[in-house]
């Protein structure tokens, strides 16, 4: 057979295959022969399409153990009546599309979820609306899947009896894109999950974290917005995480922060905006991290370094109107803070090379004192504090004397 003939043959096979699929799809509705989704799934052959018509289906424990597509174009509702897991996926190549899923029901011993994917690959979960959930989408040992365009509206009040909107456990190569996650415990939670991409999501008003990494490596998140969460994003015990162009904003409260880094190595933090968080970035035990082109705007503390942080590079960031730019709790420093723009910089640039001629010291004496004796924060904005800050900036005695920006920028980084 020639090459062209082979292609023609393949083409015909493909066409007929798709047609056969199209003609043998299964319809589920209140007046159809098949009235329940469970029955529809049972009757479907592998790779068949099950179409659900409009209506409310009071079902739970829908077990999908063969590759198929479960779709509604009329926004059918699946009501779990608080009985536990609603959809369980155990097979590869499953698509769930277009539903509203409500009433998962909570438990203190089992992680009930609206959709559970267990040891499956190549799934596509999209265009869903989840309400009154415990866990939203739960992936366990899943891989190569996509979760896109789902909206999760949780009603979490306390951490111990609420679940996460999207929960990944031992999963890898997952794409989580364009989702909106409200009021769960964590917006997205990754545990032992590598090589995932999390992009264009909005995570808001979650009571713990907007996004939470645990023991997960080589993941990337970009273009997400984390707003008004207990804390924006927590990255813990993970390596090689890339964080690009995210917005961390309004995570405001006495124990809130935009981004928490704990035991993180070799990460890239580029082009993010931190606005009006109590603490922009809280760093602990994190090494070899590059902070570049980030904007820190009107935070309480822009960066709070709690020790054991080595070889980090801060370059070309904008520090704008933060109460404290950088806070350190020791005199040791081997991180570099060069070529940043600091709104508190009062130096001059005589040779007009765009770099200030005298170095800027971002650690104020008062922030050092507060770290040592937290009670002293009560003297914030007192005239005396301004005076000692000024005298310390002239000749540092308590703050790390090598912690300074030797080439502060005169203009903001665009």
């Amino acid at each position: 057979m020639t090459k062209a003939a082979l292609f023609r043959f393949l083409f015909i096979v493909l066409i007929s295959f798709s047609f056969s699929n199209g003609f043998t799809q299964i319809e589920v509705c209140k007046t159809c022969p098949i009235k329940t989704i469970k029955e529809g799934i049972k009757q479907a052959k592998p790779h068949q399409k099950v179409i659900i018509k409009a209506g409310v289906y009071k079902e739970h424990m829908l077990i999908i153990d063969k590759p198929l597509t479960l779709i509604t174009t009329e926004k059918a509702t699946i009501d779990g009546e608080n009985q536990g897991d609603i959809i369980q996926i155990f097979a590869d190549s499953v698509t769930i599309d277009g539903f509203q899923i409500i009433h998962v029901g909570s438990s203190h011993t089992t992680d009930y979820s609206a959709i559970r994917v267990d040891k499956a690959a190549h799934f596509l979960i999209q265009n869903l609306e989840l309400r009154k959930i415990f866990f939203g989408v739960m992936l366990a040992k899943a891989k190569h899947g996509t979760i896109t365009n789902i909206k999760v509206y949780g009603d979490a009040v306390q951490q111990h009896n609420s679940g996460n909107a999207i929960h990944l456990w031992h999963s890898h190569h997952i794409l989580i894109d364009k989702n909106e996650l409200y009021k769960s415990r964590d917006g997205i939670y990754l545990e032992f999950s590598d090589d995932c991409i999390i992009s264009n999501n909005i995570s808001r008003e979650n009571i713990r974290y907007g996004l939470h990494f645990m023991f997960s490596n080589r993941d990337e998140y970009r273009n997400n917005t984390f707003e008004n969460n207990g804390a924006g994003v927590a990255v813990m015990f993970s390596k090689k995480i890339t964080m690009i162009d995210n917005h961390f904003q309004y995570n405001w409260g006495s124990a809130s922060y935009g981004l928490l880094l704990k035991e993180i190595n070799d990460a890239e933090i580029i082009g993010n905006t931190f606005q009006e968080n109590t603490i922009g970035i809280n760093v602990e035990g994190s090494n070899r991290i590059n902070y570049k082109n980030n904007d820190f705007r009107s935070n309480g503390w822009a960066i709070k370094v709690n020790g054991a942080c080595y070889n980090n590079v801060f370059i070309q960031n904008n520090f704008l109107y933060n109460s404290f730019d950088v806070s350190y709790n020791s005199k040791m420093n081997n991180n570099s803070f060069n070529e940043n723009f600091w709104s508190g910089y009062t130096g001059y640039d005589l040779d007009k090379d765009g770099l200030g001629d005298i170095p800027y010291r971002p650690v104020k004496l008062f922030s050092y004192v507060v770290n040592r004796t937290p009670n002293t924060i009560i003297l914030m904005r007192s005239l005396f504090v301004d005076i000692i800050d000024f005298s310390e900036s002239v000749s540092p005695a308590f703050t790390p004397d090598n912690l300074m920006d030797e080439r502060p920028l005169m203009k903001q980084v665009k």
Binding site: W252, G253, S254, A255, S256, T278, G300, W301, S323, V369, R372, T373, P374, N375, T376, I377, I378, L379, M380, R381, S382, L383, F384, V385, I387, I388
Partner: protein, 260 residues
């Protein structure tokens, strides 16, 4: 007393300095709001001004007025008027004209920029109330100093020293004691030390009302627990009132005994 109050008040209102003071606040208010239209941010900046400048101006004006109207006071003393009404009247005249300059000077720009539709109205009124209280307190303290010192230079320097102590040195001692005794539970001590300085008390009262209170962390939470309740707010304002009443009472008793 009312007649003397009225006389002092209108005398001051006609004077150049009240206008300068009023114009200063008007300018400050307008410039702040022009540079940044956000009312609540302007309140924070104003707080910094109020807790430093209002006490300073109150003390200086008080001392200055007492010394400059000394001859007139002596003339009044020759008349059949109660001593307490002469001095209290003069004190109230100075203090109220300063309060009026403050309230009009700051209130006008904020009202023009839409204070009544803004959520910042409570913060702003608290700011004005504490500003007024600080004026009353520091003018009274200034009158006390002037009554005790015939020598003008001495009086002035004591007045400045008093301001310096309460605005700067007190906080320094406060900070130092917090660091020295950091191993002890300090929550009650911070609370008490704050209450005993009217400037610190005003600063904390305003800070707690603003977003920035989240930065105060654990200590802030304790303060919020205390001042956040209506009882706490009332006791704080009561403390400020006490700071007015005690010096005024002392003015009265000292004036009664003083030999002119």
């Amino acid at each position: 007393m009312l007649k003397i109050l009225k006389y002092s008040f209108f005398d001051l209102i006609r004077s150049r300095w009240s206008y300068v003071y009023l114009a200063f606040y008007l300018l400050l208010g307008f410039v702040l709001l022009f540079l940044n239209n956000d009312l609540s941010k302007a309140v924070i900046t104003l707080m910094n001004v109020i807790i430093i400048l209002v006490p300073l101006i109150g003390t200086i004006f008080g001392v200055m007025y007492y010394y400059s109207s000394k001859e007139f006071t002596e003339l009044l003393l020759a008349q059949p008027i109660k001593r307490s009404s002469i001095f209290i009247g003069q004190y109230l005249g100075v203090a109220l004209s300063l309060v009026m300059s403050l309230v009009i000077g700051l209130g006008l720009p904020f009202i023009l920029y839409g204070l009544f539709e803004s959520a910042a109205i409570w913060d702003f009124s608290l700011l004005l109330v504490t500003g007024a209280m600080l004026t009353l307190i520091f003018t009274a303290l200034a009158f006390n100093i002037a009554l005790y010192n015939e020598n003008k230079i001495k009086g002035f320097s004591y007045a400045i020293l008093l301001w310096l102590f309460l605005a700067v040195i007190y906080d320094g001692l406060f900070l130092l004691s917090l660091i020295l005794f950091e191993e002890y539970p300090l929550d009650k001590f911070t609370l008490i030390a704050t209450v005993f300085n009217p400037i610190d008390l005003s600063r904390i009262l305003i800070l707690l009302k603003l977003d920035i209170s989240a930065l105060l962390g654990y200590t802030g939470a304790i303060f919020n627990q205390f001042f956040g309740t209506s009882l706490g707010l009332i006791s704080a304002l009561g403390m400020l009132t006490l700071w007015v009443i005690l010096p005024v009472w002392n003015i009265k008793s000292k004036a009664q005994k003083k030999d002119f």
